[in-house]
Symmetry: C2
Subunit: 215 residues, 2 copies
């Protein structure tokens, strides 16, 4: 898992200097010991409007208040940056999730708990992200608000546009959402209040010994 | 700079529930206060064999020992992951550096000092990465070992292959390296010993008030 495992030595054998530059490295285990918690990928998935980004950010806040190293990846910081060259074709959606998986792996390696909040409707794409890392590093969290609730909320007005045919291939309306079959955690973001949902996620991290019960 | 600045509220106005989910956020300032240091991008550039990755990892180690939040991006964790779809055409090299710039911006936003170690031979590409972030967040560090030293070291045997014509468009041999004109720091990685080079980088970070003099 450490990015530095394959590093070699850089040796200057020139006449004018005689310098051996030995490669230093800091690995995940060292970071975990220093920070007092393991790193992990918390992969939030669910329909548009299910509360993925809201829940991820609230969990992020709760973990931050415990002094933990965390970061949220969501549409706001990915779609206009790393993935701004991608559209919404099948291939581009797949590449979008692939890159998010790879960036999550980098944050994981850096010692952070990284929270990703994307619809990520297809099992195969989510499983590719899962398979980039070791067992136990990938925590899939299903935000299980059902379609009726999400469409009623319609926070961004996207469902209305999808129903009107202004958005093609909108997940839940004109494109499938493949719910996780065995997510590490399923949270009823359609009915439970936010604080309760946050507690469920935090307790899951404690029970998996990713974070200490008291920090 | 905060990824969360444009977050809205998610409000459930359904009949069965009446839940207002307010978006939480943790910004760079909060993280900097908690961790006791600012975040920054340390962009190491220089010829193959100039010692970029070695120096970046040694600085990373030194900062880690001070308890700071850091991470190194280099060929080992980027080329086989996020950028494994890219080859070495001009367009792909440019896209490679673009993605590294965007990922660095995410780490910056997360509160980390991120160290990137790539040849990044073209000024225009480096300047694009610089321009993704605010003034003062991007510290360009020129690893100024000259071509003779790098070719004499030839740590990876690449110069020999380039001279033999087995590698096309190899920086310094058959493709230009555009040295930074006004880097934030220039380190003579061809002559100075590693500990001295590390001190130069650490002192630069202290003088720029990115990290405290004593942590």
């Amino acid at each position: 898992m450490t990015a530095s495992s394959s590093y070699g030595k850089l040796t200057n054998q020139g006449a004018s200097t005689n310098i051996a530059w030995h490669q230093a490295s800091v690995d995940r285990a060292a970071r975990a010991e220093q920070r007092g918690h393991r790193s992990a990928i918390l992969w939030f998935t669910g329909l548009s409007g299910a509360g993925k980004s809201t829940l991820a950010n609230a969990v992020n806040q709760a973990l931050f208040e415990r002094g933990l190293t965390t970061y949220v990846l969501d549409g706001d910081n990915i779609r206009h940056g790393l993935c701004k060259d991608l559209g919404f074709s099948d291939a581009d959606r797949e590449e979008n999730i692939r890159r998010i998986g790879e960036v999550s792996k980098l944050f994981l390696d850096s010692g952070a708990i990284v929270l990703t909040a994307f619809v990520s409707p297809f099992r195969a794409d989510r499983d590719k992200a899962r398979n980039l890392v070791n067992e136990g590093d990938f925590i899939e969290i299903f935000c299980a608000a059902d379609l009726n609730v999400c469409e009623q909320r319609d926070t961004k007005g996207l469902y209305a546009k999808a129903r009107a045919g202004e958005i093609k291939e909108f997940t839940g309306i004109s494109s499938p959402y493949e719910a996780p079959e065995t997510p590490e955690l399923s949270v009823d973001t359609g009915a439970a209040d936010l604080a309760n949902c946050v507690d469920q996620v935090v307790n899951e991290l404690i029970s998996r010994q990713i974070i200490p019960a008291q920090h």
